[in-house]
Symmetry: C2
Subunit: 593 residues, 2 copies
């Protein structure tokens, strides 16, 4: 019987006899003595096998990496000079009395301490990859985060209620995963993109405070760091206004960071209106660790000779803005060209700039291809608005507002990292006062910025019909270091308002009834005012561990091709199964299956 | 802003001014005064609206059932004789100062305190059904159970790790739900019947102690009280033998019952071998609340003239057993006939009996159609083995052992209930020493009694090939009041043993490699000895609440037809979606869709 975990042994155990189970992390012979680094989930301890213990020694000689051992021995100080202060067990070693091999191991495809593995091999041998201390730590942290959330919400009177996985298509916009029904031939379940409608129904049912840490599913193209299934901390409350909900959620996130990674977040998070976030950072999820901000110039450029700026400034949906880079004067021609290519990704046709060499020299002290197109007074005003100093560089964006925001917003983040301007800290904030709708150029109609159940701000109900673009919502996003980690809203609890929103979205009554008639029905029977939020658990844990990929905090993730390299899912199935489900493959696909 | 929950107000609040949110449970006018029973998740409180408060009274007159109200008022004693000791708030009432209607309600399809509703209407209006205090209680209890499990396991060092929902068919025997892949055309994911393989892989990864409260899916015909998706408390450990695992799980279940429904289960559960359970109760999940036990007679009947008994006793797979019913002598001819029909369901061709009127009179004191076929000595032996008393009745079963066990086992339970012999208590036990395999008459081959990853008992490895029927496993089932609430086993951690089991099950190497080659691979790389268990959460909570149907402890369950009457899932989908998934409906089904 195990008395302790390998990683937990230190000088407190001196002279104690202990029994450990674990894996052979490394074995080496040194002066006729065999040393084994024995590893379990708590860490690694050094085992010493002496030749005078012939029986144990004979076994030790057979041992290879990743063998599973049971070892009994006594704890002693490591000899002078062999102490390893780097690890918890570094001062001690265990002198073996008995060894048993519980299981052998073939030579593993990689070393457990190799940190330069291709992701393909890590995912194929995930059960070995997960042995690596970094992955053990990630999964442990993920567990801690989940428990911290549950403990906090439980104390706040929230009730964990499970909602269906086999359900009906929810109109979140993305593509659904479908599940053919055997019993109801020709019909399909959909896997939930979120429990949105169910959690609202639970408020109608009077549960008052609901939460669930639940799996959600989106059949999207996985360009970004996305997974077909992901985990959401899903929360809904009744009778609370946005301020109360946001306050509660701030406390939860603070509790989370304090109890799991010992980080103290600000007691109250700053709030930025959507319009201010766009105007200062060109983004609705600004990374506040980066001190750079946009300078608004649209008003200034309406009459200038420089046509690029003038046209943009005169367009109703145009914008001209500047981004002043402290010390940016040292940027080479080549670097500036690279940034010009970078902003092109976001549709910017160019990247005008002014280098400030020496303000004292006035315009002589400036260096820029566009100066000749700008009146001196305008240039002076730019410099003062941007608070430019000697050695700075000012970049310009002039185009449709969306292009300027995307391009300069991305440039702001890139330069922030390139020039080491990113503060090493955690900067949470709320973004609020979102518009209800955004105009969809392609579909040529309004789309819900969050989802169609988001409540308009009080007094904006009429705008839903008169001027949808002006209607603001009661939505709020929690942003941390440039990542949206949570988003929510106060919901619509009155059927007439819900109907208006559907109208604005061109959702016909029939469509609405077909898709979520049960919600509309529910709103008739005493639906309370309610609202909630959903956090991305994978993303939060990934940020805590400092990894760029959520795959590093998911035990068995899928690839960008939505495949599991370990189990080879998805796989083809027997014709018999398809027949039971009343479906067949399309001709063209049969070859592939 | 709410100051308190309706259900939490009592005399401690006297003279306090409070603000409540809730639903109008009932409204009545009485002597010009309006009384409102206001309901929230914590309970109901009586609101009094006085005519002299004209403004509030005017609003109160508009109020109907299930309106959502905000009420501010002061707490006072109820007048003499109107106190209701039945409810927590029964001594007080709240005199209204202000009322606001937060939302109106159409007349609901049923009263929230109506307990005689058809399940169909309850499921169609689930959001209203869930308002009913009984359902509120059930969902709260379910939450408490989940938290109690998590708290216990967390303290024991278990780590909650999420396993995939979109995965590969696991060979649990039942039918899989399939999910067509869009990206990998012609291929399908399967929803997990359990995380069995993943939790074993997590042990290979060295997590040592894993748990998950997770959804599992089985596309079975829902004759029994089953759901297409159900929730499992899934647990796996490394380096523990069955006794240690069983002890840990006993502690968990005791903790669960103590902390959630204040029931003290025995500190250690009795253990019955599978063979003993079958011989004494004819069941591998005996209800120990019922004092009746079988009497073994097979050995006694090998030579008797009564052919029915003799044949059964001589068959290698035959059995003759008796069930003595204390006071059963009073059973009428009609009742005995009904029991005879009842056992016929289980394949019994008849139900022989002996009534014991007066033992003192010897055989004269007995009454039975079969006496003349049985030697007196045999009859005497029957009476003594069955410890028969005056007024008792002895039922007989003689057939294949399976038929006798099923028939008399079911009869034992039925009579136990009919005659009020069921002890009002909780009787947990472990059933152990299961055979590895059971013979499948139809398929004419061995089937795994648990699953193919269950370890044979030490020393029984060779029987896997020489005499599979004799091989015992290291499986264990937890049984409570006749219901199997959990089942688990020590798993196979050696590849060679796993291969033998697959051979015994006629699973070819190719089939094994195709289905779970990744597990076989994993077993090569230092798999630790490991084992675990899975509990049915829905069933446990249902038993705690005393309901017969797990649908009463699931927020949004499906019908026996695997349909959701609320959302109308499954539903038909657009042709475009099917095309994206590379599937089409079979001709015959298109009409239905």
């Amino acid at each position: 019987m195990r008395t302790d975990y390998c990683g937990s042994i230190n000088t407190r155990y001196l002279d104690k006899t202990i029994t450990l189970y674990g894996w052979v992390h490394r074995r080496r012979d040194h002066g006729g003595v065999i040393f084994i680094d024995l590893r379990d989930r708590e860490g690694i301890v050094q085992i010493v096998c002496d030749p005078d213990n012939a029986q144990a020694f004979a076994i030790a000689e057979k041992i290879r990496n990743e063998f599973v051992l049971e070892i009994t021995g006594t704890v002693r100080h490591r000899p002078e000079g062999t102490v390893n202060p780097g690890i918890f067990t570094g001062e001690i070693e265990v002198l073996v009395s008995t060894i048993a091999i519980l299981n052998a191991s073939a030579t593993p495809p990689f070393q457990m301490d190799d940190d330069n593995l291709s992701e393909a091999i890590r995912l194929e041998y995930r059960y070995l990859d997960l042995r690596r201390p970094a992955m053990q730590h990630n999964m442990r942290l993920r567990h801690k985060v989940g428990m911290a959330v549950r403990t906090f919400l439980d104390q706040q009177g929230f009730i964990d209620i499970e909602t269906p996985i086999l359900t009906k298509s929810t109109p979140e916009g993305a593509r659904d995963y479908l599940v053919p029904s055997r019993v109801n031939s020709g019909h399909f379940f959909a896997l939930p993109q979120s429990p949105q409608l169910f959690k609202q129904l639970l408020m109608v049912s009077g549960f008052d405070r609901y939460y669930q840490i639940t799996r959600c599913f989106r059949d999207e193209d996985l360009r970004a760091d996305r997974q077909p299934e992901f985990t959401q901390i899903d929360i809904e409350t009744s009778f609370l206004a946005e301020n109360e909900i946001m306050g509660l959620m701030e406390n939860m996130i603070c509790h989370l960071f304090a109890t799991t990674i010992d980080v103290a977040l600000p007691a109250s998070f700053p709030r930025l209106s959507h319009i201010e976030a766009m105007s200062r950072y060109g983004s609705d999820k600004p990374d506040l660790r980066i001190p750079l901000e946009f300078t608004e110039l649209t008003d200034l450029m309406r009459e200038v000779p420089f046509q690029v700026f003038r046209d943009a400034a005169q367009k109703p949906d145009g914008r001209v803005a500047a981004l002043c880079i402290p010390g940016g004067g040292e940027l080479s021609r080549k670097e500036i060209d690279e940034y010009t290519q970078f902003v092109a990704i976001y549709g910017a046709k160019g990247l005008a700039y002014i280098k400030i060499n020496e303000l004292a020299k006035g315009l002589e002290g400036l260096q820029s291809p566009i100066l000749k197109f700008l009146p001196d007074t305008v240039v002076q005003e730019i410099l003062s608005r941007a608070r430019a100093q000697d050695g700075d560089l000012i970049f310009f964006g002039a185009d449709k507002a969306k292009v300027v925001n995307d391009a300069l917003g991305a440039l702001r983040v890139k330069i922030g990292h390139d020039r080491g301007l990113v503060e090493d800290t955690w900067k949470p904030l709320w973004v609020v006062d979102f518009p209800m709708f955004e105009w969809d150029e392609e579909e040529n109609r309004w789309q819900a910025l969050h989802h169609p159940f988001t409540s308009p701000r009080e007094g904006h109900e009429d705008l839903l019909t008169t001027d949808p673009g002006q209607a603001l919502s009661r939505a709020y996003d929690m942003v941390l270091n440039g990542v949206e980690i949570g988003g929510g809203s106060v919901r619509i609890h009155r059927q007439d308002v819900q109907a208006k929103v559907f109208q604005a979205l061109n959702i016909t009554d029939d469509e609405a009834k077909e898709k979520f008639g049960f919600l509309l029905d529910a709103l008739q029977y005493g639906a309370p005012p309610h609202g909630g939020i959903a956090f991305g658990l994978d993303r939060i844990v990934a940020m805590m561990t400092g990894t760029d990929s959520i795959r590093d905090v998911i035990a068995f993730p899928k690839t960008q091709r939505a495949q599991c390299l370990l189990t080879h899912a998805p796989s083809n199935v027997e014709e018999k199964q398809l027949r039971e489900l009343h479906i067949r493959l399309r001709k063209t696909e049969i070859a592939n299956s």
